[in-house]
């Protein structure tokens, strides 16, 4: 029969083997860790232009390293602890990672892994309705939080970031996956039977009573919706939204309701409007005029507000002493209280390079500790109230990175304009390519 020696050892060894996997499983299920934080030094104001801008861009990029969930890749709305993931910030993160690997701030392999992980989350885990992602998601699970809406503009921004990353990583699964999530979006459904695209949809109440009906950041949304290969909206939608025109300081501008700088920037971070003509309107030139008007509006109010008195400008949606506000200038609603956003100024680099650089260098020289931190320029400040934002917002970091890249290399524009949906939108909407 059996050997007593062998049988004497097999019992306890077996029982040890039973518990080892369990202990391992329990250990793994409780272990997780965020990426280590990074510190940033204020760029010297006398640095050469390119070096200065690259420093600002690189520091802003660190936000996406630190504030993206390592498990899902979803990026938090703000640097404030407990902030949920924002789908628009995630779109900017995808674009920022692609730029960062090209600049050598992170390796190709790391960027590839992180982007692919994020896209897999967007495809499989992130909660959506007909392809439209909810505005705020749980960074860990991808589930809708804060009762947020399935947002059309935020979805457009995340898709723009994904498609751009696909262009940087052409011929890889990143490109395939980016196209897959883009093709999934039912743009026509978001029109809710109207001629315009609705701002969002909630499971509790259905479509929101707000539509993208006038000039602002809607152009990127319209471009992707009209150019969709699967569920395109009619090209006639391009002519349905209002282009209100007004004048400020002798500058004729097709303006957004809020007059916020970001409305003139977001679409143009991806789309190169420099040589595109829309029935006599060049939106690049329009944004340039709006940016100069924003600066002049601040100058004209310099006696009432200390911030403007020191030649600071950049009225855009940002944090303020009383909370988040859609600050802006004329023409438009022009809500303002002396709070300016350095990111809005920095993201104007393609429109007003001289004015932007001058202001940013002046900020670094005079208020380095208050205005510059871990992730570069802090969101906003108000000198009269001695108020300095202590946090960063993902979308504000993202727009800076993309615009600086366009200014230095045109890297985002050149890739995004090659996309088939963009070409389709240009063709269907009768936009004319000007010869520069």
């Amino acid at each position: 029969m059996s050997s007593p020696k062998k049988s004497a050892n097999s019992g306890p060894r077996k029982s040890k083997l039973f518990f080892c996997p369990l202990i391992g499983i329990l250990f793994i299920s409780f272990v997780s860790g965020p990426l280590a934080p990074a510190e940033a030094a204020v760029p010297r104001e006398n640095l050469p232009k390119k070096e200065f801008l690259r420093t600002v861009q690189k520091d802003a990029f660190l936000y996406f390293v630190k504030c993206s969930d390592p498990r899902t890749g979803l990026t938090r709305d703000s640097s404030q602890p407990g902030s949920p993931a924002s789908i628009a910030a995630t779109g900017f993160s995808l674009a920022a990672l692609a730029i960062a690997q090209e600049q050598g701030w992170i390796s190709y392999a790391d960027a590839y892994r992180q982007i692919l992980k994020t896209l897999e989350t967007l495809e499989q885990k992130a909660q959506h309705k007909n392809g439209f992602y909810f505005h705020f998601l749980d960074a860990r699970t991808g589930k809708r939080v804060w009762g947020s809406e399935a947002s059309s503009i935020d979805t457009a921004l995340v898709l723009a970031g994904a498609l751009l990353a696909g262009e940087y990583f052409k011929g890889t699964p990143i490109e395939t996956l980016a196209r897959k999530i883009y093709r999934r979006v039912n743009w026509k459904w978001m029109m809710n039977g109207s001629d315009l695209i609705c701002m969002g949809w909630k499971p509790e109440n259905g479509f929101l009573p707000y539509y993208w009906d006038s000039y602002n950041e809607l152009i990127i949304l319209q471009a992707l919706a009209i150019g969709s290969p699967t569920f395109p909206i009619p090209s006639s939608a391009w002519n349905q939204w209002d282009r209100f025109e007004d004048e400020y300081n002798g500058r004729k501008i097709i303006y957004s309701h809020s007059g916020s700088l970001f409305t003139y920037q977001y679409s143009q971070a991806f789309i190169d409007f420099r040589n595109l003509d829309d029935k006599g309107v060049n939106y690049f030139e329009n944004s340039k005029q709006a940016t100069l008007a924003n600066k002049e509006f601040c100058y004209n109010n310099r006696l009432s507000y200390k911030t403007y008195g020191e030649s600071f400008w950049g009225l855009s949606a940002c944090l303020g002493p009383g909370g988040y506000r859609a600050y802006g200038a004329r023409p438009g609603q022009a809500q303002h209280d002396g709070t300016v956003a350095p990111h809005a100024c920095a993201a104007s680099i393609v429109f007003t390079p001289h004015e932007t650089l001058q202001t940013l260098r002046f900020l670094c020289k005079n208020y380095p500790d208050q205005v510059y931190g871990e992730f570069g320029f802090k969101d906003s400040f108000n000198l009269a109230k001695n108020w300095w934002a202590y946090e960063y917002l993902g979308i504000d970091q993202g727009i800076m990175i993309l615009m600086i890249e366009n200014y230095l290399t045109e890297g985002v524009w050149s890739r995004f304009m090659n996309l088939r949906p963009v070409e389709k939108w240009i063709s269907l909407c009768g936009l004319k390519k000007e010869i520069s």
Partner: protein, 237 residues
């Protein structure tokens, strides 16, 4: 603990059912105290470990998460973000802040509504994660229980199997057979008694063979054999 309780309850119900049948009524539950206590001890330890794993995972995995979610810091952050979401909506959908600026209480009520909505989401999230955790833990636990059952049953079935085989060998008149069990197998005493009996039978049969070999005289042989065989009791008598 749940598993252990269920096991105990099942055992009581089973014992009660068996004991109520008059024909098969058990007069004594502990027929082999040593064996039964040994098996009960092993079952208790294994089920205790498995149950403890479930309890610790639930307690530390789920409830510590709940405590963390509702910490002062998180509540403050959530309240701040509730206000932020109001601001975002106002900025995006063009809802005026002036009404709220004029009446801070109105703003506070709106923030509170957002906050309570978020709290419901948080609790739902905790429950969802608890379910996920249980599901994730369920499979390894099932495997562990299955392996434990195999191990426990082997501790009992192994010796029974060996006894069966030994009796079969005995049936073929092989008296050299001995039962050897593993160190932690049950029924060690039984195997000792069995081996003792077989040793005696083996000795007696050996003696008979020796008598047959050494005695040529028929009457002496008969006497010697009768004397030796008389110790065996058979049904023929």
């Amino acid at each position: 603990m749940l598993l252990l309780t269920a096991q105990v309850v099942c055992f009581i119900i089973f014992s009660f059912t068996m004991s109520t049948s008059l024909k098969n009524r058990r007069k004594q539950f502990l027929v082999n105290k040593s064996l039964q206590f040994h098996v009960m001890g092993w079952a208790f330890v294994i089920l205790l470990v498995v149950s403890s794993c479930i309890v610790f995972s639930l307690y530390f995995g789920v409830w510590s998460q709940a405590l963390q979610e509702f910490s002062d810091e998180n509540i403050q952050n959530a309240l701040q973000f509730a206000s932020r979401v109001q601001d975002y909506d106002a900025a995006r959908f063009g809802q005026s802040n002036s009404e709220e600026l004029a009446n801070p209480r109105l703003a506070f009520i709106k923030d509170t509504e957002r906050f309570s909505e978020r709290q419901r989401e948080m609790i739902q999230g905790i429950l969802d994660r608890a379910h996920e955790r249980l599901m994730a833990l369920g499979l390894p636990l099932l495997i562990l229980i299955a392996l434990s059952t195999v191990y426990l049953s082997h501790k009992i079935a192994g010796p029974l199997y060996r006894f069966g085989k030994s009796f079969e060998e005995l049936g073929t008149k092989n008296l050299t057979i001995r039962v050897r069990l593993r160190k932690f197998d049950e029924a060690k005493t039984l195997s000792a008694v069995f081996n003792q009996a077989v040793v005696k039978l083996d000795g007696a049969m050996g003696k008979i063979k020796k008598i047959l070999r050494e005695n040529q005289n028929p009457s002496l042989l008969k006497n010697e054999l009768s004397k030796e065989i008389s110790e065996f009791r058979t049904t023929e008598e």
